[in-house]
């Protein structure tokens, strides 16, 4: 039982990290029908911005909640900016180009960020300062729970709720959904589609940046290629949940996180990554629209 609960919580933690990344994938896919392969790298940048800003401000010696929120905000802002720049200069000029060109550009941007990261941050793993580390453990019966995990889970939940509000209860969110439905129609309403697309990139990137900081907090070793696996996993989660659906991205991520944790915990410790890709292949074979999806993804 103890073990079960521990796996459950680990699974949810990992899943919620995937979810923060996956939401960005699915939002961007919604407005541009583009799998933004560079999205995992934004997550990586988020972690590094978190690390450098924590070092700059001297956070990490003592546990500071205020410090964490400052670092989190900063990282989200910088990532939003990077997301804006990527969209503006790499993707927007290709708006009318065939989809495959944009896809290849996305892979290019992803590699560019990986290598630039290695150049500037060095390719060896860095230690992420423990900005906030609640002391001790919570004991529930015989189960020992790490409060940090709950804290991180809580923050990601808040971010997801904020996103939900933004998408479903604001004017801009409504514009995002209109653009997702059809660019031309949205522009006939007077909606500046390019601005909405930029905004979507910024929101998605900010969430990925937040995930970078939160992952740094829980697994304090960060390196320039750290975005690759979570990026791919989040992509799998999106396909699992149904491309373009926000709920799908969250549910898919939680399922994937839990599945990984339980498979690794009870059955085959070395199969963590293989499992995700097994799920990807299965979903594409059995239910290519995913659990909540309306859109069939194109084979490219």
């Amino acid at each position: 039982m103890t073990e079960f609960i521990q796996h459950l919580i680990n699974g949810l933690s990992v899943g919620s990290m995937y979810a923060l990344i996956a939401i960005g994938y699915t939002l961007v896919f919604g407005v541009l029908q583009l799998i933004n392969f560079a999205h995992g790298e934004i997550f990586m940048l988020g972690a590094f911005v978190g690390m450098y800003s924590a070092l700059f401000f001297g956070f990490g010696q003592t546990s500071s909640l205020l410090g964490l929120f400052l670092v989190l905000t900063l990282s989200m802002l910088v990532c939003a900016g990077v997301g804006y720049v990527i969209e503006r200069f790499a993707y927007r000029p290709l708006r009318k180009a065939p989809r495959i060109n944009v896809l290849i550009t996305a892979v290019g941007v992803s590699m560019f960020l990986q290598f630039t990261g290695q150049l500037f941050f060095g390719s060896d793993p860095k230690f992420f300062p423990q900005i906030y580390s609640p002391a001790g453990y919570w004991s529930v019966g015989s189960v020992q729970l790490n409060p940090l995990q709950f804290f991180v889970l809580g923050i990601s939940l808040c971010l997801m709720m904020a996103l939900h509000r933004l998408v479903f209860h604001t004017r801009m969110g409504r514009a995002m959904r209109a653009v997702s439905f059809n660019h031309d129609l949205a522009s006939l309403m007077g909606i500046p589609t390019n601005r909405v697309i930029s905004y979507t990139f910024m929101v998605g990137s900010a969430l990925a940046g937040a995930a970078g900081v939160l992952v740094g907090l829980t697994y304090p070793k960060i390196e320039p290629l750290m975005g690759v696996m979570p990026g791919l996993k989040a992509f799998v989660a999106v396909v699992l949940g149904g491309v373009g659906s926000i709920l799908g991205a969250v549910v898919g991520s939680l399922i994937l996180g839990l599945a990984e944790e339980f498979v690794v915990g009870y059955w085959a410790p070395t199969y963590r990554d293989a499992l995700s890709f097994g799920i990807l292949i299965l979903i594409l074979l059995i239910k290519p629209r995913g659990l909540f999806g309306k859109i069939q993804i194109e084979k490219v």
Binding site: A175, R177, F181, L188, G190, I191
Partner: protein, 238 residues
């Protein structure tokens, strides 16, 4: 109010519209007639800049100013007061009826005006009222056309471009939609609408333009067109 000068459109290398010119005075109600594939929708799409014209320009006069809208982006044209209801209604089928109407109000950044407009639209189309929260996709064809018209009104347009508003509707519904178009015009909106239904269109319009194979071949007052042998033969069953 609207002046089109030598506008032409190509799809790739195919010329869909040969250069044509016409102008529209404030307060007019004008119809564009033509067979399938004549280029009517293409003309509207070029005015609202969904398509980039290959030559010519479109000038919109408003408040004593002449603005070359053919250089502008579609959303800026909407902000000037030109609303385009595209062929097939162009509803957001993933959004509710209310959300569709509210998106129509995008250029009007004033919630008091939005509410007034919403009340007006719901008075014109009471059938939308009970269903505000439902998905636009659940509406019948006629109701969808009502929503499309209502949504366009929410933008308080000075010029309304309508692409085949009667398409696929029952005779009573066509009657109703034409009545509403006439009413909208009476409230002071200039209207340019595309129709296949020449008889009814000319009945409410002041003037008509006839397109054939991408060319503007005929234009005149509704009386002239109704009397013209060319129109009678092609659209009014001889």
């Amino acid at each position: 109010m609207l002046k089109i000068e030598n506008l032409s459109v190509h799809y790739g290398i195919v010329e869909a519209l040969s250069p044509f010119s016409f102008s529209l005075k404030q307060g007019e109600l004008v119809t564009i007639l033509g067979a399938n594939g004549a280029g009517k929708s293409t003309a509207l799409r070029a005015i609202s800049k969904l398509l980039k014209p290959s030559s010519g320009r479109v000038i919109f006069s408003s408040g004593g100013q002449d603005i070359t809208i053919s250089d502008m982006q579609p959303h800026d044209i909407v902000a000037l007061g030109i609303s385009h209801v595209p062929e097939g209604r162009g509803l957001f089928l993933n959004l509710s009826i209310f959300e569709n109407l509210d998106l129509g109000a995008w250029p009007v950044r004033d919630s008091k005006k939005n509410q007034e407009d919403l009340d007006l639209v719901l008075k014109i189309f009471p059938r939308l009222k009970e269903r505000l929260k439902q998905n636009a996709g659940t509406l019948s064809g006629g109701e969808q056309q009502m929503l499309a018209l209502g949504r366009a009104l929410m933008a308080r347009p000075k010029l309304l471009l309508l692409d085949e508003p009667s398409l696929g509707l029952s005779p009573q519904m066509v009657e109703l939609i034409f009545q509403v178009i006439a009413d909208i015009h009476k409230m002071g909106t200039t209207v340019l609408f595309v129709e296949q239904n020449a008889y009814q269109a000319l009945h409410i319009a002041h003037r008509g333009l006839v397109f054939e194979n991408g060319k503007l071949v005929l234009s005149g007052t509704s009386q002239e067109l109704l009397a013209s042998p060319q129109v009678q033969e092609a659209y009014l069953g001889g």
